[in-house]
Each structure stands twice: as structure tokens, then as C-alpha cells.
């Protein structure tokens, strides 16, 4: 088994790593201000926009990007598509960081973080609160992700016995790892239903939970593809082209289904006219959906899905579309109706940038030191530099994981 997952090794320090570390340090400076002088000193948050990009991007988009582990677990363990197995470990690692740092972003954003533990006190439970459900779900899911990821450490530490014991009930953890994101990703949409007329009808619908769930799925697919391409480019590794091509197809179909539902919903509720009033909201609506339409159109011809650059562009555009959708729901489409304006400050943007930088830093550090990435043949790179061949081989190797 260690043959299939191996640490990358190599030097950790490189120029991108240094730059990202700098971003993280700048974020630290702003966080110092936030905790010493209050939220108002760093952010543009107001009573009209009590939630800014730390929630909308760091948490809501961040966890959607962290859905890599969710979709891969769904594909491999529940739908039994073993050929995607090589993508599972990096996906779970990405999820762990996506969710973990999303959780940290929430703690930064909480106005009274020192009382944050109140969420866990049973006598303060509000069963009506979507947010409580979401928060507890996310907290539980982070725990689940850690357990899912623990074999990596156990492998590294050589604790085989513990690993075997863990394996016996891992299927329960995996089931939870699929259930929990289903719950909280949809709930992130339900959170907004209570905004009522304050959220533009272009986004406000009782189907919000459904849309958030589907967007978590296609963003999860997209981030898996994105990450695989980036890893292969960044770490000079072969691309698992065949597997990723199939995944691109699934992603495109999910996205298409979502788009149909999305437009049907807007038209059915009679709000489609708002998309043509030339407002910022209308522009953002089209930006969100046209990106998705183009992304789907790009890979609709089957052959295109297996071209690395189109696969990559499609994944990027779907990530952008999903990001815009979530930001639209949480910020752009929201109008408190009191003359409030919101645009993030430099401080907010730098903290967000810092958190994402930190996430990537940790990712690099982990894959270089722990058995995460899939390595079918150790001397592969020298022999087969071309992605097309590389993907063929990779699929073949992964295929052995399937039962005959």
C-alpha cells in the first residue's frame, strides 16, 4: 500500500512558498488589530452587512472548495467507483484544510468568540437555528475528516495495529463524511431563506438548500480536477487524465442539471425580469450563470473532457461560477435597504488571502512529508513526460483497485 501513496519529499522552501508565507504574516498583522481594536478597525462590516467576505468567501466558498473530500468519498465509497481512489487522499487533505480554516475564519469573525463554546452547551440549544445545525455539522465534519485522514499519520508512524482497528469501523466514519456535508452544505442555503425580501429574488428561493448542495457537489468535482492538475504541474507529476476526464463529464452534467433547475426556478417565481434591469445584481447574476454555461459548453463534446487544458479551464470556470453564486447569495444579492454599502477593506482581503495562502502552504508541507499523493511508478516521470500517456497509465493502475 505504501507503494501507492508516498511522500513527495524535496525542498519545502521555494519562491511561491515564501510569498504565501508573507501573505499569511500580513494577515496576522491585521488579525492582531482585529482582536485588539475590534472588528470595525479592520473590516468594513456594518449593521447592514454584518457578514463580509470572511464569511462569504472564507467560510461559505472555502468549505465548498473543501467539498473535494465529500464528492470523492461519495464517488468511491458510496457509489463504488474505485477508479477514482487515487484522488481520495489529496481530496480529503484539501477538505481538512478548507473546513479547518473556514472554521478558523468563523472564530475570527465571531464578535464574542470567547463565548463560542456556548454552541456546544445543550441547555442553550436552539433547535430552530439553522446556523447551530450548520456549525455543529461543520465541527463534526472536521472531526470526521481528521479521522478519515488519520491513516496517513498512522502509516507514517508505522502504527499498523491501530490502523487495522480503525479500518474496522472506518465505513461508519465514511458514511458520516458523506452525510454531514450533505446536511451543512444545504443548510448554508437554508440560512439565507430567513432573509426574505432582503435577498434579491434572483437568489431568494425555498430551493436555496438544494442549490447550495448541488453547488457543493460541482465545486467539489471542480476542485478535485483543479487540484489534480495543479499538483501534476506544480510537483512535476503525471496527470491522471483518464480519471479526471470522466470526472469532468460528471461535473458538467451535474452543472447542467443545476443550471436548468436554477433558471426554471427563477422563471417560475417570476423574477427573471430582474436579470435585465442592468443593476450590479443583474450583472453578477449573468456573470455567475454564463460562466457556468460556457464551462459546460466547453466540455460537452466528449473528446474535450480529456484535453488537460480544457478540463482545467472548465474546472476553473465552474469554481468561479460557484464562488460567484455563493458570494452573490451572501453579499451581492443582499440589500438591507438602509443605504448600507459594503466592499471589503484591504485588511479583510489580506486576511482572506492569508488564510488561503496558509491552506496551500500546509497542503504543500503535508504532501511533501506524508504519503498522500498517488505514485503508481516511482520512475514514471523520466519515462512518460506526456500527460496523455501518463493518464492512461494512471488509470490502468487505479483500475486494479476495482474488484474484478
Amino acid at each position: 500500500m505504501t507503494a501507492r501513496h508516498a511522500p513527495l519529499g524535496g525542498r519545502f522552501i521555494s519562491l511561491p512558498v515564501v510569498i504565501m508565507a508573507l501573505f499569511a504574516m500580513v494577515a496576522g498583522f491585521y488579525l492582531y488589530h482585529r482582536f485588539v481594536y475590534g472588528l470595525g478597525s479592520v473590516t468594513n462590516l456594518s449593521d447592514g452587512y454584518p457578514w463580509g467576505i470572511w464569511i462569504a468567501i472564507d467560510l461559505v466558498v472555502g468549505t465548498a472548495l473543501g467539498c473535494a473530500g465529500y464528492v470523492m468519498a461519495l464517488m468511491v465509497y458510496i457509489l463504488n467507483k474505485g477508479e477514482y481512489h487515487p484522488l481520495v487522499r489529496p481530496a480529503i487533505l484539501a477538505s481538512l484544510f478548507g473546513y479547518g480554516l473556514g472554521g478558523i475564519a468563523v472564530m475570527i469573525d465571531l464578535g464574542r468568540y470567547w463565548q463560542g463554546y456556548n454552541m456546544m452547551l445543550p441547555w442553550l440549544t436552539n433547535v430552530n437555528s439553522v446556523m447551530l445545525e450548520t456549525a455543529l455539522c461543520i465541527a463534526a465534519y472536521i472531526t470526521v475528516l481528521m479521522i478519515e485522514f488519520s491513516p496517513v499519520f498512522l502509516e507514517r508512524l508505522g502504527m499498523t495495529r491501530v490502523r487495522e482497528k480503525l479500518n474496522r469501523f472506518l465505513f461508519i466514519i465514511i458514511a458520516l463524511g458523506v452525510l454531514l456535508p450533505t446536511m451543512h452544505q444545504s443548510s448554508m442555503g437554508t440560512i439565507l431563506v430567513v432573509l426574505g425580501h432582503q435577498l434579491s429574488p434572483l437568489w431568494q428561493t425555498p430551493l436555496l438548500p438544494l442549490f447550495f448542495l448541488i453547488s457543493a457537489l460541482f465545486m467539489g468535482f471542480a476542485i478535485v480536477i483543479f487540484e489534480a492538475v495543479m499538483s501534476s504541474v506544480g510537483f512535476r507529476r503525471p496527470l491522471e487524465g483518464e480519471v479526471l476526464g470522466k470526472l469532468t463529464g460528471i461535473m458538467a452534467w451535474v452543472m447542467l442539471g443545476y443550471l436548468v433547475l436554477r433558471f426554471l426556478d427563477v422563471v417560475y417565481r417570476g423574477s427573471f425580469g430582474l436579470a435585465f434591469d442592468g443593476s450590479t445584481q443583474a450583472i453578477m447574476f449573468w456573470l455567475e450563470n454564463l460562466t457556468a454555461v460556457i464551462a459546460v459548453a466547453l466540455v460537452l463534446p466528449k473528446a474535450n473532457r480529456f484535453k488537460p487544458h480544457l478540463m482545467f479551464v472548465c474546472a476553473c470556470m465552474i469554481l468561479v461560477s460557484g464562488t460567484i453564486y455563493r458570494v452573490n447569495c451572501y453579499l451581492v444579492g443582499y440589500d438591507p435597504g438602509d443605504g448600507f454599502l459594503y466592499f471589503p477593506t484591504v485588511g479583510e482581503i489580506m486576511v482572506t488571502l492569508g488564510i488561503f495562502s496558509l491552506e496551500i502552504l500546509l497542503y504543500i508541507a503535508f504532501v511533501k512529508n506524508l504519503p498522500i499523493l498517488h505514485t503508481p511508478q516511482s520512475a514514471y516521470e523520466e519515462e512518460h513526460p506526456h500527460p496523455a500517456e501518463a493518464s492512461g497509465s494512471a488509470t490502468g493502475s487505479a483500475g486494479t483497485a476495482r474488484p474484478a
Binding site: L124, A175, T190, L195
Partner: protein
């Protein structure tokens, strides 16, 4: 070779009914939404609920309510940035509700502002404070029950010692009432609690000091009756406007009835509010949402939530399916295939 939609669905079908577990939630949501039966029953107002009746036509903009509120709640004077060059902090001049201002008098202005309580070329005052909704969004959304509704008086109370500062209440309130102190590293959420939080305060300070009776305190039923009485009288007819609280000792303010809107605000909209508003200009000009349903938005979220999570049956079923599948699939593989 490549998985297409067909294969995707087939794969799910092959894995049995429980194989569709992941999409059960999706289906349930859609069904519930389509059926429309997911809405939670709206709450009823407590029989002895108390509130305020604010009559914009009586208001003279003296801001006695604002000053009394600050004093009663011990809050700091506020000078917004645009005023700071001439106001050195001696004069409390908030422009909006804020972490330090629980009630504020704002003005609607149109055209040459010649006539009070006229929509065109006129002006009108508006008092903002917590509306104490019958079915309050803030109470529904708070993850730690830091917002509660008093079962007897119906006053929406904030418990600072529970609050985690997530500001979901700020976001969700359709009237934009709860506010957070962003400039304080240990900031808190603030909102009007009808002075139930002030020791030895008989009733709301704002109503107590209002010289004209524009802000009137009382049982909501009495307030509604008073509002209907005013609406029923012909414009110009004398009316003895109670001052302070309904049934209190204060001399009434005898003044003619103005031209009101057709109905008072807060009877049913958004599930009804305990603080009512009467005005001569359309309520949306005073910042009160008119394009809103007769139920609280909280009934929708809670409906969706409780449809999906009733007794946790659905999640349990889904989890059961997922566990079965994961277990079955794990049996097909060697342990090494699993992480």
C-alpha cells in the same frame, strides 16, 4: 468508458434504493418546497403582550425618546463622522440605530418639505426601535438562544452572556434592528428591550417622556384598539391622545385627527409586530417594508429545517443507507484499498 449521466444514474440504481441516499435529501427538499406544506405554523402573540404605538403624525421630532433611552440604558453619546467637525461630543446625534443607540428619530423628506405628514413635498418623522415581532427572526436564528421572547410580555430579550457575536440576528432582522458594536474588541449585540432590562423602570422610557403621546406604551390589544379608534375618526375631529401608557395617569393630548394611511403598520405583516406604527405617509417611505408576506420568514427556514430534520429521522435513514453501502463496498475490497 467515461462515466456519463446515464452510467452515473445506473450506478446508483445498481447500488439499490439506499444507493440514492445522497440524493434523498435533495428530493425531500424539493418535494417539501413543491408541496408548500413545509411552512411552520406561525406563532401567536401572547395575550398580555406589550408594545408601543408610534404615531408619526403626532411626533414633533424633539428626540426626547432618544435622550431618555440613552439615559435609561446608560449608553454613550454618539457623534457620526460627518458631524465631528462641529459637534465635539456634547450633542448626541446618532443617524441610525447602532451599538450605542437603541432608538432614533429619522425624517422622511420629499421635495420642498413644506407640509408635515405629506408624501409629496412633505416630511414625516419616524422612530426606529425593535418592533418586537410576534414571530421574531432573531429568536429563530440565534444558535445559542441569546435572543428569547418573553412568554408573558412577548418582549424580545437579548442575553449578552450567551451571545457568541455571530451577528446572524443582525443579518436576519427584516427591520434591521439588532446592532453590533464593531469598534469594541469585546463588542456586544444591542437592541431595544422595551426597558425590561432597566431596573425600576415602570415602562419604556421613550413612551414615558414623549410630550405628545406619539410614542405610547401599552398592551398590544389596547394599542391596536387605540389605533383603530384613531383610524375610524374623521380627519379634523378632536381626539384625546393618551400620553405615556394606555391607562396611565397622564393628561391626554387633545388634538385633531390627521389624515392617516388606510391601516396601521404591524397588524399582520411579517407575522405581526408588537410595536405598531401609524403615519400619514406610506409606510415604505418610512423604511418599513410593505412588500412582505403576512408571515415571518422564520416560518420558512424552520419549516424547511424541521421537515428535513424532524426527529432526525431523515438524516438517520440516510446515514443508515450510507453506512450499509460503505460497509458493503468495504467488504468487496481489501482493507488496503481503504484509507
Amino acid at each position: 468508458m467515461a462515466i456519463n449521466r446515464r452510467a452515473f444514474l445506473k450506478g446508483m440504481a445498481a447500488d439499490g434504493a439506499a444507493g440514492a441516499a445522497a440524493v434523498v435529501t435533495i428530493g425531500a427538499t424539493g418535494e417539501a418546497v413543491a408541496g408548500g406544506g413545509f411552512q411552520r405554523t406561525p406563532f401567536e402573540m401572547p395575550a398580555d403582550a406589550v408594545g408601543l404605538l408610534y404615531d408619526s403624525t403626532l411626533c414633533i421630532g424633539c428626540r426626547a425618546c432618544q435622550a431618555a433611552c440613552k439615559e435609561a440604558n446608560g449608553m454613550a453619546a454618539e457623534v457620526p463622522t460627518p458631524y465631528q467637525d462641529w459637534n465635539e461630543g456634547l450633542w448626541d446625534s446618532p443617524t441610525d440605530l447602532s451599538g450605542d443607540t437603541l432608538t432614533v428619530i429619522q425624517v422622511y423628506q420629499d421635495g420642498n418639505m413644506a407640509v408635515k405628514d405629506r408624501a409629496e413635498d412633505g416630511y414625516a418623522f419616524m422612530k426606529r426601535q425593535c418592533m418586537h415581532c410576534t414571530d421574531a427572526s432573531c429568536v429563530s436564528v440565534c444558535p445559542v438562544t441569546a435572543m428569547t421572547k418573553d412568554p408573558v410580555t412577548g418582549v424580545v430579550i437579548h442575553h449578552e452572556d450567551r451571545c457568541i457575536g455571530c451577528r446572524y440576528c443582525v443579518l436576519s432582522c427584516p427591520f434591521g434592528v439588532p446592532r453590533y458594536q464593531y469598534d469594541d474588541p469585546f463588542g456586544a449585540i444591542t437592541k431595544c428591550q422595551l426597558c425590561t432590562n432597566v431596573p425600576d423602570q415602570e415602562y419604556s422610557a421613550c413612551a414615558m417622556v414623549c410630550p405628545t403621546g406619539a410614542t405610547l406604551y401599552g398592551r398590544v390589544d389596547d394599542l391596536k384598539a387605540e389605533a383603530r379608534l384613531r383610524l375610524a375618526k374623521d380627519p379634523g375631529a378632536e381626539h384625546a391622545y393618551p400620553r405615556g401608557r394606555i391607562g396611565g395617569d397622564n393628561e391626554p393630548n387633545v388634538a385633531p385627527i390627521p389624515v392617516y394611511q388606510d391601516d396601521f403598520y404591524g397588524d399582520n405583516i411579517l407575522g405581526g409586530t408588537q410595536c405598531l406604527t401609524l403615519a400619514g405617509v406610506p409606510y415604505d417611505r418610512l423604511g418599513l417594508p410593505l412588500e412582505a408576506p403576512d408571515f415571518s420568514y422564520a416560518t420558512l427556514t424552520e419549516g424547511i429545517q424541521h421537515t428535513l430534520y424532524r426527529y432526525m429521522i431523515l438524516p438517520a435513514v440516510v446515514l443508515g443507507g450510507l453506512v450499509t453501502l460503505a460497509w458493503r463496498n468495504s467488504r468487496r475490497h481489501k482493507p488496503e484499498d481503504w484509507d
